[in-house]
Symmetry: C2
């Protein structure tokens, strides 16, 4: 159908339109190549703000931009909606769930990660994780329905279980979720219920290791704990979850007796696993996987024996190669995914020009996590040294950094208005669930041990 | 739990928080009564703009406000999330799906309407209707996925079927849907696809009767048709649908041979039926139902023999009683539902004061329908006579009327910004589907007769 003959142009297939895939496609904008960008969804998701959708602070379109709209002016990109089910490295083609086949000359796999329940996939039904918009809607529904159910519940113990929110995992997502849940209970909902006091809700953050925000320096972990406590979150470190069911969970503390927490709203923020496409890649190329299922890539992000295949983002077990330093593992954060996208795109152009690929070097500009209203921790790395701060200035920094990196001008404006509104009114405007299933009725609780 | 003793206060139960139920609760704001407002969802939906959510112009929270937030300052209202499954007029109580029971002294039933497929409920799977947010998300998904599937489809006939959009029913919703679909195909999407031209999509509006917008004067129906044609919609009146399947539909025109239209995206805007609660009410009170399942109410909106039960809104087959005129049927529009809500509330107060209820009188301020960008028709009734206009001024009138009646200041602002943006950019920002199911693969088409 295209008017010009493009058959001679190298065909690049990019799987996944997260931060890595998007950046790889953009970095090839001036290249004489034909790019096919394929994803299971029709949008690029700004995942750092997904917890805001889950907690009804933002609507989904504020953090999700249609991929084909983003690339409407980049003529060398064809966007396809489809689920990749197989990769054939020998035939150099990708197969889709609908039977479609995409041949490639160069392949960039940026399929990302999903939740990991460490072998306990049965927990997923009781403690959903937060990776997609669908996940966010499910968690939003659980949170809002829990308060609704509490308002209707006559039995005090059951009511308390509806009003007990547990977040498992003290990484950035867990800290954000717990802080925001406390804010909803203490600031947004009071005054709207007649039979319960939403401010009496308990929000617990459970972390198996000795401290939250492990990627941060210890002093900032301590600050984060203090700020969470001030918001009304009970932080329990060294608290390992050993069982989850529909009515609560079982905790094994590092010291002391195991105990049970009755809770009807549990959020899983504890672990990620690489996309199953990692396994498909390993089979077809012989590449090795690490324990989390990530594909071990070479210095230039390509696979051994397959310079035409690059793996980037959360799916890649990559190393940073800075001159004069030992190779260091690259963290699973969005700036790293973007940088890998640019490196992979650059290496494709180099190979097309007959040159070898360059090693990936991760530039770490720092780390930041928000906790709630006016509360965040920031750890910046600059040529002048490290800069650490917390509290209100850190929150402002976090706010503008996130709005700045949001895709598309309009979204930034909408998010800023939404937040300005939420800030002044304590309102959360997206407190809407499309349709509410009949509330699940808890079985007679088999809890032998109650949490204190 | 309440500090004050409220047991002596009359208990009012209102079922449904659409326009009627909401208005009834508001009209009782100063009354010494205890109101329980129960709904299946947690939000009041501004249904006149639901088609904008279905066509990705607005996000759900822009037209849906949490009910308990709306009533946070009205202390005599308790909001409950629950599905009413039964009404016992003798025991004066309402039962909920979760087993809960709500005793009442006065009951207002405002449960609204749902789609009617005129006995062909099997059509619902192929031609979804538009009543709830869930419906809107489903239709949004179908529309967006149809263009995505067309971009991937190699077979020309199948591609055409994906690019053929059919709206069944030429009432206000059908006209809005068809006009907006044409706008998306002609204005929003072009430039974003590489293999198809979205502007080549066909949008058909089928109406069984001789004209669209039957509630309007004939001259405005003609204007609407002209404006639809200008937007690129093929309007077919006198076109009765006789069969719908996954790959298209069968049409019997008033004159001529039956024909088939191959289409993968069909929207049903042809009929409504009263909520099933009408039947429950008929059983427990002996009230009569009309053909659409609506409950025939007395002049004061109560049921025969049950002055303590009022039925309002789309569930009521009500008459307007204007002095010196014959009783006239009340149309199923939101201003009528609101007015019935006020009358029902006033009659409850009258009965509590030992007075008889007053007859309902519908004040008709006119009728308006939008068609698309800059296109609408308006038919106003004023003391000075009727005022009819169409085109750009009608569209502006429609726009500000709808924004004005949106619940809550913030929503108005957000909707205005969204629309201003959409107007200048032709963009539709909510083009997001949470997760896309594998695209349905059409069976080998059994179409014997093709549409011309």
């Amino acid at each position: 159908m295209p008017a010009t003959d493009t058959r001679a142009r190298p065909r690049i297939v990019i799987i996944g339109c997260g931060f890595g895939g998007l950046e790889a496609a953009r970095a090839l904008r001036d290249a004489a190549v034909d790019i096919t960008l394929v994803d299971r969804t029709n949008h690029h998701l700004f995942q750092p703000l997904l917890y805001q959708v889950a907690t009804a602070g933002l609507s989904a379109p504020a953090i999700a931009a249609p991929v084909r709209h983003l690339f409407r002016k980049q003529a060398n990109v064809t966007t396809l909606l489809g689920e990749v089910t197989g990769i054939d490295a020998a035939a150099r083609q990708v197969t889709l769930a609908d039977g479609g086949v995409l041949p490639y000359d160069h392949l960039v796999v940026a399929a990302g990660a999903t939740h990991s329940y460490f072998g306990r996939d049965d927990w997923a039904a009781f403690a959903p994780g937060l990776k997609t918009l669908e996940d966010a809607f499910g968690i939003r529904r659980r949170i809002l329905v829990a308060f609704e159910a509490a308002e209707k519940e006559a039995d005090a113990a059951r009511r308390d279980a509806w009003l007990t929110f547990v977040v498992i995992g003290g990484g950035p997502t867990g800290v954000e979720m717990a802080g925001t849940l406390a804010e909803i209970a203490r600031q947004t909902l009071p005054g709207e219920f007649r039979r319960i006091d939403p401010a009496s809700a308990r929000v617990l953050l459970l972390e198996g290791s000795p401290r939250v925000l492990q990627a941060m320096p210890e002093s900032l972990s301590t600050r984060a704990c203090e700020q969470l406590s001030r918001l009304g979150v009970e932080v329990r470190t060294g608290a390992r979850v050993t069982a989850i069911d529909a009515a609560g969970l079982q905790v094994q503390p590092t010291e002391g007796e195991p105990y049970r927490i009755d809770s009807r709203c549990i959020v899983w923020a504890a672990g990620v696993a690489a996309s199953p496409l990692g396994r498909a890649l390993a089979q077809t190329t012989g590449a090795a996987l690490d324990r989390a299922g990530r594909v071990q890539v070479q210095a230039d992000l390509s696979l051994p024996g397959h310079p035409e295949i690059s793996v980037i983002g959360d799916l890649a077990a990559a190393q940073s190669h800075a001159p004069g330093r030992e190779p260091a593992p690259v963290p699973g954060v969005s700036p790293a995914a973007k940088q890998m996208g640019r490196t992979a795109a650059g290496n494709i152009l180099r190979r097309l020009a007959g040159q070898p690929g360059q090693a990936f070097r991760y530039r770490d500009y720092g780390n930041l996590a928000t906790i709630g209203r006016n509360a965040a921790v920031v750890d910046l790395t600059s040529p002048l040294g490290r800069l650490q701060f917390s509290g209100y200035p850190a929150w402002l920094f976090w706010l503008f950094a996130h709005i700045w990196f949001l895709i598309g001008f309009r979204n930034r404006l909408v998010v800023l208005i939404d937040w300005a509104w939420a800030y002044w009114s304590y309102d959360r405007h997206a407190r809407v669930v499309a349709e509410v299933d009949p509330l699940p009725v808890p079985e007679a609780s088999s809890a032998a041990v109650r949490s204190p």
